[in-house]
């Protein structure tokens, strides 16, 4: 079992009345609310927290890409990963990832990931998200109905750029290149492992099964609702004869304290800030035409972003969010037990944990990171030891399973 620390790099200082006065935290939050002094602090504290997570014993650190989004200040996760490639020594650098359909030409992603792999000494995980509707269709103006086709073409181009031994030409519908020949090439041979952050669409399950990419369900709705999606993935995977849990990953919010009172005092307000303010998203941005494929609609499935739109209706309390599984909160022992259940129930070999979320301040984030990494993570690593992880960077650390 691998456990990685995920960071969203959220803007922690939205005004108290943000939800009442604005329609969306994503795409069109008021420009006037952005303060570069706050961003300066946010980026540096985020980098410190990622480094701290690596030092405290996580197996990897994860960053991701969002655009025009106050809860995710990393339009270029590669910049953060570049710092961490230097600041960390052995952990996996998991970029979750680059929205490959948005880059023209997409070869840029092949180049930057190759740079990161070389700088980190072969510790990169290359994430290839299709990207949310807010990021792709509205933030970057990409036609939602052509997004998947562009994505497939970009993926083919990037993989060929990494894997082919000679200069080649690429005559695509969206990209035409006379000479494809990236310098540098990845250090991992032939390429970094590919993880696909998905949101529950059938096409993404099929892609991951067909191509052997890791499928990671990244949602904030927690393990209870995540069960439906992961069961859907495993149904497709099992039909193809795949049962290795390392083929799948999941994201979960976690907070640790020694008592119920301490949990409430330390984390309740920050958790509510995340779910009630940061996920306040205008429903009109959630489901543009063509974003969900016809097959996904026919199966009655929502995209992750559709559920974002719906989540905006009511404010939720910390207790409700714990009950629903959005956040796993408790003593180290309670959290370990709950996460062991999540890992086995969803059958995942990679669990990505958010220790800083919402408005959790730096010192509290560090405490949560340290306690999770030292008092929870080591007690879960033994799970799935009978399977081999084919989705781990060739030169990233594989830590021993120990119990505290």
């Amino acid at each position: 079992m691998k456990l990685e620390m995920f960071h969203l790099c959220p803007y922690r200082d939205l005004p108290a009345d943000f939800r009442e006065k604005n329609r969306s935290v994503w795409v069109d939050p008021p420009t006037s609310l952005f303060d570069a002094e706050i961003a300066n602090r946010t980026y540096n504290e985020t980098l410190d927290e990622l480094k701290y997570g690596a030092e405290m014993g996580y197996d990897g650190i994860c960053v991701n890409e969002h655009h025009q989004n106050a809860y995710g200040l990393m339009p270029s996760p590669n910049l953060m990963a570049s710092v961490m490639a230097r600041e960390s020594k052995d952990v996996a650098i998991i970029v979750m990832g680059n929205s490959i359909a948005l880059y023209d030409p997409p070869i840029r992603v092949a180049e930057e990931f190759a740079m990161l792999d070389c700088i980190s000494g072969g510790r990169l995980v290359a994430g290839f998200p299709v990207g949310s509707a807010m990021d792709t269709a509205f933030g970057y103006g990409s036609n939602p109905s052509q997004l998947r086709e562009k994505y497939a073409e970009a993926e083919e181009l990037i993989l060929r750029a990494w894997e082919e031994d000679e200069v080649f030409s690429f005559d695509g519908k969206y990209t035409q290149l006379r000479y494809v020949n990236i310098w540098p090439r990845p250090m991992q041979n032939p390429r970094p492992p590919i993880w696909v952050p998905g949101a529950g669409s059938i096409e993404t399950w099929n892609t991951c099964v067909d191509k052997g990419h890791l499928y990671a369900y990244l949602s904030y709705s927690g393990y209870k609702r995540g069960k439906t999606v992961m069961d859907g993935f495993w149904k497709v995977a099992n039909a193809a004869g795949i049962d290795n849990p390392y083929h799948a990953g999941f994201l979960q919010l976690v907070c640790i304290a020694d008592s119920e009172q301490e949990l409430q005092d330390k984390y309740a307000a920050h958790t509510e800030y995340f779910f009630n303010k940061m996920l306040h998203i205008y429903p009109g941005f959630a489901d543009p035409p063509g974003y969900r494929t016809i097959d996904t609609i026919k199966a009655g499935l929502m995209s992750q972003t559709t559920s974002f739109g719906r989540a905006g209706t009511n404010e939720q309390t910390f207790d409700e969010l714990r009950e629903a599984g959005n956040v796993v909160a408790g003593t180290p022992k309670q959290v370990t037990e709950q996460l062991e259940h999540v890992i086995k129930d969803l059958r995942i070999g990679h669990l990505m944990l958010l220790n800083q979320f919402g408005s959790i301040p730096h010192e509290l984030a560090k405490e949560n990171i340290r306690r999770t990494a030292q008092e929870v993570v080591p007690n879960l690593r033994h799970i799935w030891s009978e399977y081999e992880d084919h989705w781990w960077p060739q030169n990233a650390v594989v830590r021993e399973a120990t119990t505290t």
């Binding site: 269709a137 509205f138 103006g141 990409s142 036609n143 939602p144 109905s145 052509q146 519908k173 205008y282 429903p283 009109g284 941005f285 959630a286 489901d287 543009p288 035409p289 063509g290 969900r292 016809i294 609609i297 026919k298 199966a299 009655g300 499935l301 929502m302 559709t306 739109g309 719906r310």
Partner: protein, 271 residues
Amino acid sequence: MNERSVSVRNGEFQVDVLEGGSGDPLLFLHGVSGLEWTPFLQKLSANHTVIAPRTPGFGESTGTESLHDIHDLVYFYLDLLDELGLDKLPLVGHSLGGMFAAELAAIQPNRFTSVALASPFGLWDDANPIGDLFAISLGELAAAMYADASSPEAVAIATAPQARMTEVDPDTEEGQATIYYLVERAKSMSTAAKYLWPIPNRGLSKRLHRVTQPSIVIWGESDGIIPPVYAEQFGAKMSSSSVNKIPNAAHMVIEEQPDQVVDIIEALITG
């Protein structure tokens, strides 16, 4: 009215074509909300044989995957018109179909004897942005499409299955009905998005001067999708054009005020 399926390019496209009325043929191209034989078309067919193809991607018309951009779309329509043997006839287009009509009239001005554009897409003016019909709520959409928000058509839009925000159980009858609605909406709107996303400007302003035949521009005064100031912008670029703004009408002007609109079109055609 008859409905038939026409094969274009040896079956690459199968296109529904509605046809009704009597007299010389007239080509009608429908808008973003799709094609039905409405009172407007019924009235228009009194003096003309109205031929109304359904754009690939809408309803049962197939082949939208072969159409990548407006260029492909225009050549598809030229092939369809060849297949139907249509030449020297009046052209009427509404909304998205108005944009297509303008493109066709620009590329083959001699094919069409007159051009009527009702609330067409195709131009963009930074000072008067066109509404984001892909992101506005269904209530806002209804109010932008119809001047009378209490009309049955407006209410139907505003109260359409809100299921894009809910999980659907495909095993129930209600779930299947919702899925049918959502699939149709996804197909037609993602087709429209090929020509309108993210800004409905595919360079028509560089070609519109080629529309030199007798033409008119028709606009609902309350159009909440495309502001009526665009009427003059279209009119100014098409050399022999007159602009008609219709009160008590919005984007669906042809359905909201069919009598007035048909009278204006008849006057254009009869010269």
